[in-house]
Amino acid sequence: MSNTILRVEKLKKSFELSNGFFEKKKTIQAVSDVSFEIQKGETFSLVGESGCGKSTTGRLISRLLEPTEGSIWIDGMEVSNKKESQLKQMRQSVQMIFQDPYASLNPRMKVKEIIAEPLTIHTNLSTSERQKKVLEILEVVGLSEYHSERYAHEFSGGQRQRIGIARALIMKPQLIIADEPVSALDVSIQSQILNLLKDLQREYGISYLFISHDLSVVEHISDNIGVMYLGAIVESGPKDTVFANPQHPYTKALLSSVPVANPRLRKEKIILKGDIPSPKNPPSGCTFHTRCPFAMDICKKEKPKRQQLQEENHFASCHLLDQ
């Protein structure tokens, strides 16, 4: 049995955008080239700025969206070509945690109903058996029975996110896709949730696909990371390697842009010029060339290939590496 829980190969997703009645339909390449693997019990983070396609990738893997091309393997089974009715197994072993702890919990349901929902869908447990499981899981995420009889909107953001985690956890999933799970929370609460996620991983051997724009959070939680820019992973590898020795100019700039919480470490930053281009109209060649400080002629014409770098599992796509 292989140790890979998730394998994604050459994933692509394009959306059709109709611009009114007379204009030609436009396609947006939300995800243009994403490949990575997650091992069991490991955290892989997708990091990037808005519009880079990291959330879309998460939704493709959880099959909330249909991939246009490419394949997704979960625990050795290809799920990208299956119909919803064939996904029962996967719907139990893959769960999601969402960014907004306010919008992701139904305000008209009691906490116990919210947490028990996966059980209601996938099992035939009696109400009292479900109740027992809910109480168990509440204890695990640091809530108590008191919380189960109330509505989610009676709680603070951190507590709501714990409820969301409890819901994801109740089916004992193998993989949790966490889409910006802490970015709506205050720092002191954020660290509580991050610690909880790490503890749960240690205890139950869950793998995480962690989607975030916050590099400091990503560095803290991940084993491996993939840096995305305009729909493609431009650099990926073990966390320590990528953070200590970034190879792609975008990764370098991104790392340098993060404000450091230490006033003695104020340093010259690599300030990228211009804005992130719109995925509606992506630049030719390497999509980063419009903002890259090292752009060459070839960057405008040719898409760089993904290359294996010196260290194991460290990949990057940049023409500079050819020289």
Binding site: S62, L64, E84, L87, K88, R91, Q92, V94, Q95, M96, F98, Q99, D100, A103, S104, L105, N106, R108, M109, E117, P118, I121, H122, E136, E139, V140, V141, G142, L143, S144, Y146, E149, R150, Y151, E154, S156, G158, Q159, R162, G164, R167, I177, Q192, N195, L196, D199, L200, E203
Partner: protein
């Protein structure tokens, strides 16, 4: 399972009173004075409708040729009609007929319209297009004209009035629910339910339908007023209840010949229709202020 050591930091139990949506609703609805009075009136009407045979002072069908077109007096509080029948008793029986016709047609229309609207909004695509285009067709007829056409095809009678009023209610309900569905569908918790593998029926019933309930309640109350008017109009035109039935529209219709000589024959049922429709609309307004704060104060 309990071996995990996780800081149970947030177990700060605050002693706030338990939140209950029903209590919250009552607290706010009682503040709507006009709507509250209107709903007391409607409750009275419903009570009258239920107890009609017991509280009607006379037999509403039995003619009394000694007391034709008598003005209101001690014995006949609302006077008598052209056959000497007690108008108050007919009014009381008519409450039962008018309310049951309008309730039945509105609820039927609501159930069918809600199902169609939910499916249309949730699935989208060709199903949405078929449902919405068909309701556009129904919409393009003036309300009453459509009902007249339906009754004309089915033949007169109270049951057919119910069907006619139901049919012209369906597209409005479908459109309302579809709009609410489209909005509710965008909630992340709907996406969350999908990611758990919840079947469509469950998502529609548990996650989307509850979001449409408050607008449905408002619309239903408003709609009942309209349905009473429509049913009375059909009866007035001779397409509804038979002439001897104590239905408000029929009473208006048969009484209009005596408008000059014995105006109470027309005025009394007219006021009944007016007050009832007004009461339902006022309740609807009040409910909207309570249930739909977005449209408040405009």
């Amino acid at each position: 399972m309990n071996s995990v050591s996780i800081d149970k930091n947030e177990k700060t139990v605050s002693m706030q009173p338990k939140y209950s949506p029903v209590k919250e609703f009552w607290k706010n609805f009682r503040k709507q004075k006009v709507a509250f009075i209107a709903s007391v009136f409607v409750l009275l009407l419903i009570l009258v409708a239920i107890l009609a045979p017991y509280i009607a002072p006379f037999d509403p069908y039995k003619p009394n040729y000694d007391a034709l077109l008598e003005p209101p007096s001690k014995s006949h509080l609302a006077g008598t009609d052209e056959y000497g029948r007690d108008i108050l008793s007919r009014l009381i029986m008519g409450t039962r007929i008018s309310l049951s016709v309008s309730f039945a047609s509105v609820f039927l229309g609501m159930i069918l319209g809600t199902i169609l609207g939910l499916m249309s909004g949730y699935f989208g695509g060709w199903l949405d297009r078929i449902i919405m285009r068909s309701s556009d067709v129904l919409f393009s007829f003036p309300d009453l004209l459509l009902a007249i056409a339906i009754v004309a095809i089915l033949g007169p009678g109270l049951n057919n009035v119910i069907i006619a009023v139901t049919v012209f209610g369906i597209p409005s309900f479908a459109r309302l629910v579809r709009g609410a569905t489209l909005e509710a569908k965008e909630n992340t918790y709907v996406e969350a339910a999908k990611s758990m593998g919840a079947p469509h029926r469950r998502i529609m019933y548990k996650h989307i339908f509850p979001e449409t309930v408050s607008s449905l309640i408002i619309f239903v109350t408003m709609r009942i007023g309209t349905a009473i008017l429509a049913a009375s109009s059909l009866s007035f035109l001779g397409l509804g209840a038979s002439p001897e039935t104590p239905e408000w529209g029929v009473m208006l219709s048969t009484g209009r010949d005596y408008l000059g000589t014995a105006s109470h024959v027309v005025i009394v049922p007219g006021i009944a229709i007016f007050l009832t429709v007004l009461a339902f609309n006022l309740i609807g307004d009040g409910l909207r202020d309570v249930l739909d704060p977005k449209t408040k104060n405009d």
